[in-house]
Symmetry: C2
Subunit: 299 residues, 2 copies
């Protein structure tokens, strides 16, 4: 506990030093690039291959980190679908501007194999004993927001519940009206302004950590809700694989900046108050979905 | 005044009716589509051709509504640049994922003609006598947010200042470090999660009201800050024209839903509390940049 307090104090001192630097003529304030350049190897976490999906498109590979902490049953079902090659040859069926890109079986006919057909919703979970890096700024939608192991999340002290939130690049499970009607065979990725009204209405299962631009630049569908009118407009999915089942030489190893470190605290601070010469009015606050969750390909 | 109060009361009654409907079994709650279908011609405003830009790309036309209420001098300068065909043959030089698409003279060599080289910044203006439809929900960045004539805006009661905010599709004026260094010859459009840290740091001059998907789907630049590394990756700009200088038969007439009407009040309410069967937890609140600012091509 004492050690932890020490880290917090160090982080606060660091933050104060940044603020001071900004007010000292001739001293260049630190930027996000500076913070990342000064980061230590221990500030980073390599994404577990068991929690890594490769979505293979004709244009390249999209890497998704799954989150079994918040959606254990849905993640297990998605792993089953992926192991049995359920997604291979299916397609991106929907791209709605400023909202989501979605994939599924366009014909709704493929067998789910040994995967569950329906699953209990995992919209939220207990926040007890869940390490949570709190963001100090007010949020429109939730009483408290912050980060859990690299994912954007919210927390409600009254109910002791926590849930993942719909920031750009988050991956969710499509469902019908029934809350338990999703099973992971229809997945979508947020490619626009955070649709936070979906929080606690959908099971979020992960986040794109590499290659999101392959999804965000897709031609938008002109049908209702961005579905493609013609089959020929859909982007085919070559395959989805778990990284752990791909030979090591063919893996894309991704590391993400940890969100429970003094380095991350400083990163948040330099983004809450942008002190670069260009900025004239530092916001002093930041929206949960504007905090960069940094990931990079391991060389 | 009495009439105005009547409208407010009617709007509140309407909102209550919606809330009631949601709790009444068998009564289908109203959706945004219902609200728009029931709208009257007077709920809409045709965009003034004097305030309309056509950005002509090889893929089609993007329509921008300029906002002289907030940025009179910058809008005047942009009109001058456009009238003198400054932008014709220039290019989209930057596409940064989840941030902005930007155009300018890639060679920084073209004459600005009779346009001003530098202009005073128009980051904010007096809020006095500015009709402002307040959004009741808390905002991370500003003490008060809402709408001014179809544009998302913020207001600070203490200073009596108002400013446009950086939601998806907003158009801003690029500048160097000096606040007065912008002139409208470099423009960018927001294509990602609202970068609200730019509020009051940039002069916002308008909003894309039609064709944003031509910008949001552009291949992202791989250079620093999303600039294209190679000239061949840039999308050429065929021309930018003021609608008022285009023959009527070639115009794209766009109308936008007014934001100072009971219809808009109801639209905001049905989005703050989504009561469709699919939604299990209505948010009860909405982020300024999640409120749909509806526009449509006039037939």
């Amino acid at each position: 506990m004492k050690q932890r307090m020490g880290i917090v104090v160090a982080a606060l001192l660091l933050a104060s030093a940044v603020a001071l630097a900004a007010n000292t003529p001739g001293v260049k304030p630190r930027t996000m690039a500076d913070v990342i350049a000064a980061s230590k190897p221990s500030d980073w976490r390599t994404v577990d291959p068991q929690n890594t999906l490769y979505l293979e498109l004709p244009t390249g590979r999209v890497v998704i980190e799954l989150n079994p902490t918040f959606a254990p049953n849905n993640v297990t079902n998605i792993r089953t679908l992926v192991r049995e090659h359920y997604f291979d040859g299916l397609a991106i069926v929907r791209a709605q501007d400023n909202f989501v890109v979605q994939w599924q079986d366009p014909d709704h006919s493929r067998s789910l194999g040994t995967a569950e057909k329906t699953l209990g919703a995992e919209f939220s979970r207990s926040s007890n004993d869940l390490p949570f890096t709190v963001l100090p700024d007010p949020d429109t939608y939730a009483p408290e927001v912050g980060f859990v192991n690299g994912f954007p999340a919210a927390r409600e002290p009254r109910t002791h519940l926590a849930w993942l939130v719909h920031c750009y690049s988050m991956v969710g499970v499509g469902r019908d009206d029934d809350v338990d009607s999703g099973n992971g065979s229809e997945l979508y990725v947020v490619i626009g302004h955070a649709p936070r009204q979906l929080d606690r209405n959908v099971t979020l299962v992960g986040r794109v950590v590499y290659g999101i631009e392959l999804l965000s630049t897709m031609k938008r569908g002109t049908g209702e809700r961005g579905f493609y009118d013609k089959a020929s407009e859909r982007t085919p999915i070559q395959s989805i694989r778990l990284a752990s089942e791909v030979p090591e030489a063919q893996r894309t190893s991704v590391e993400v900046l940890r969100t429970d470190t003094p380095t991350f605290t400083e990163l948040v601070e330099v983004r809450r108050n942008r002190r670069e010469e260009w900025y004239k009015v530092p916001a002093g606050r930041i929206d949960i979905c504007n905090v960069p969750l940094v990931s990079r390909k391991k060389s």
